[in-house]
C-alpha cells in the first residue's frame, strides 16, 4: 500500500511542477471552480426547503448575537472605547467573515478527516489537480453567501446609525481585511483538520474551532493579559474582525495593527502550506 501512496504523491507533485503556462493554469483552475460551483447549485436545488431553513437558522443565531449586544448596551454606554453601533458593526463584520468562510471552506475542510479515515483521499490524490485546491474548494455552501449579504446590511445600518460615511480607501481596506480574515480562518482550520493524518478521530475539531469565532466578534479592548496575547499573536482572533472594523470606523490608532494582521496572515498561510505538505507525505491510505 505504501508504494501506491508513493505513486499518488508523484502524480500530485508532478502536476504542481511541470506546467509552465501559469496563465493557462489560472484559467484552468477558474473553469474547474466554475464547474464545482455549478455542481453545488444543482445539489442545493435538490433540497430547496432545507436550503432555506439553514439560512433561517444562521440568521437567527446572528440575531441572537445582536440581541446580546443590545442587552449589554442597555446597561452600559461603552465597552472600553467601543460604542454600541461600533460593536454592532464588529459583530456584523465577524459574521461576514464567518459566513464567507462557511460558504467557501467549512464543509470541505470539515470533511477532510472523513476522507482520510475512509481512504477517499486516494482518489483526490490521483486526479491531475492540486490536492489542496480540491480538498478546500470541492463544495460551495451557497446559503453562506446569503447570510454574508445579511451581515453586510447590518454593517451598513450600523454605519448609518454612527452617522459615518467611510471613504473609498476605508471600504477597500475593509474588504481586503475581510478576505485576509477568511484566509486566516481557512488556513488555521486546514491545519487543525490536517491533524487527522496523525489521529483518526479529529471530528471534534470543527466544533472546537467554532469556540474561536465566539471571541472574534468581541471588542479587543475588553481583554487583557495572557488571553489577549494568545488570541492576538498566536491565534489572531482578536485581530481578524477588529482590524477591518476599526479601519472602517476610524478607530485605528496606529498602522501597526494592520501590519501585524498582514504579517500573521502570511505566517499562518506559510505554516499551513508547510504542515499540509508534511502531512501528505505521511499519508499511507486507509485499510493498509
Amino acid at each position: 500500500m505504501s508504494d501506491r501512496a508513493q505513486m499518488t504523491k508523484g502524480v500530485s507533485a508532478g502536476c504542481q511542477e511541470n506546467d509552465p503556462h501559469s496563465a493557462y493554469r489560472v484559467s484552468r483552475y477558474l473553469s474547474l471552480y466554475a464547474a464545482l460551483w455549478r455542481n453545488s447549485v444543482i445539489r442545493e436545488l435538490g433540497f430547496k426547503v432545507n436550503f432555506l431553513m439553514w439560512i433561517v437558522v444562521e440568521g437567527l443565531w446572528f440575531a441572537l448575537q445582536l440581541t446580546f449586544i443590545s442587552v449589554l448596551y442597555l446597561h452600559t454606554e461603552h465597552i472600553g472605547s467601543w460604542t454600541k453601533w461600533q460593536v454592532v458593526a464588529l459583530v456584523g463584520a465577524s459574521h461576514l467573515i464567518q459566513q464567507l468562510f462557511t460558504a467557501i471552506f467549512l464543509t470541505n475542510l470539515a470533511a477532510l478527516s472523513e476522507h482520510i479515515r475512509t481512504g477517499k483521499l486516494d482518489f483526490m490524490l490521483l486526479l491531475p489537480v492540486n490536492t489542496r485546491f480540491l480538498v478546500s474548494f470541492r463544495q460551495v455552501d451557497l446559503g453562506g453567501f446569503v447570510n454574508a449579504a445579511g451581515a453586510l446590511c447590518v454593517i451598513g445600518y450600523a454605519l448609518h446609525r454612527l452617522n459615518h460615511v467611510p471613504g473609498l480607501t476605508q471600504v477597500a481596506g475593509f474588504l481586503l481585511f475581510v478576505l485576509v480574515g477568511v484566509l486566516i480562518h481557512s488556513s488555521l482550520m486546514l491545519m487543525l483538520a490536517a491533524t487527522s493524518f496523525w489521529t483518526v478521530r479529529a471530528q471534534g475539531i470543527v466544533w472546537g474551532y467554532y469556540n474561536l469565532f465566539n471571541i472574534a466578534r468581541l471588542p479587543d479592548e475588553a481583554f487583557r493579559g495572557l488571553f489577549k496575547a494568545v488570541f492576538t499573536f498566536v491565534l489572531p482572533m482578536l485581530l481578524v474582525s477588529n482590524v477591518p472594523v476599526k479601519m472602517l470606523v476610524d478607530k485605528l490608532s496606529s498602522p501597526l495593527e494592520m501590519l501585524l494582521l498582514l504579517a500573521l496572515a502570511a505566517l499562518i498561510c506559510a505554516a499551513s502550506e508547510l504542515l499540509w505538505r508534511i502531512a501528505l507525505r505521511r499519508y499511507t491510505s486507509a485499510s493498509s
Binding site: 441572537l64 449589554l72 452600559t76 465597552i79 466544533w207 469556540n211 465566539n214 471571541i215 475588553a222
Partner: protein
Amino acid sequence: MGKYWHVLNLGLQNTMVYRLNFLFRATLGLIPLMAIISVWRAIYADKPGGQVASYELAQMISYYLVITIVDALTAVTEDDWQIAADIKDGNISQFLLKPLDYLAYRFCLFSAGRLVYAAFAVVPTAAFIWLLRDHFVLPPDAASAAGFVVSLALTAMLQFLFSFTLALLAFWVLEVATFIFIAFAFEYVAGGHLFPLDLLPPAVAGALDYTPFPYMLFFPVSVWLGRVSGEAIWLGVLVQFLWVAAAYAVARGVWRRGIRKYSAVGG
C-alpha cells in the same frame, strides 16, 4: 425497574469511550466563557457603583460559572440526533416489540451521558472556578442549596423532554436538524444562556416568565445565587414541576401520534 438499571449501566459504559473527547470539549468550552467574563469585567470597570441591574461583579461572574455547571449536568448534546436517527433508520421497531419503554430507555441513556460528561468536565471546570474563587458565590443558605439541587433535577427532565419531543418530529419530516437548531436558538436566549434574564426590560422578562424557558436554566441559577429566596424558591420549583408534567404529557402524546404514522423504513 431492574432492566432500566441495565440500560443506565450500558449507557455509562458506552459513553466512557468518549471520555477524552469530553475532557477536550469541556476545556475548549472555557474559552468563550473566559471571553464573556472579560467583557463583563470591562463593563464593570466603568461602573462607579459596581452594579449592573442589581448584579455585583462577583454575582455576574458566578452567573456564568453556575451556568457552566448546570449545563454540564443537564444539557442535551447528542441524544436528540440519536433519537431522530433511530426513527429515520427504523431502529425503534425493536422497542415496539420489546417490553421496554423508549422514553424511559432514552432517559436512562441521557442520564448516563450527563453523569460521565460531568465526571470529566469537572476537572477543567473546577480548576477554572478555583482560579476565579474570589469572584465565585456559593448558595447563601441551606434552603437555596436544597432548592438548587431539586430544581437542577427538574431542569434536566425539562431539557430532556423538550429535546425528546423535538426529535420526534423525525416521524413527520426527513431533516430535523434545522428545527432543533431553531428551537435551541430560542432556548439559548430565553433560557438565560447569553445573559441573566433580569437584564432584559421588565416587560420582556415578565412575559418570558409565562414560558417554560426560564425554568430550563435561569431558575436554578437564580436559586444558587440567592436571587430567589424563601417561599419563592418552592413556588418556582412547583411551577417548574408543572412544566415538567406538561412536557411529559406532550412528549407521550406526540410519541403516540408518531407511532401511528411510523412506517418502519428499513426496520
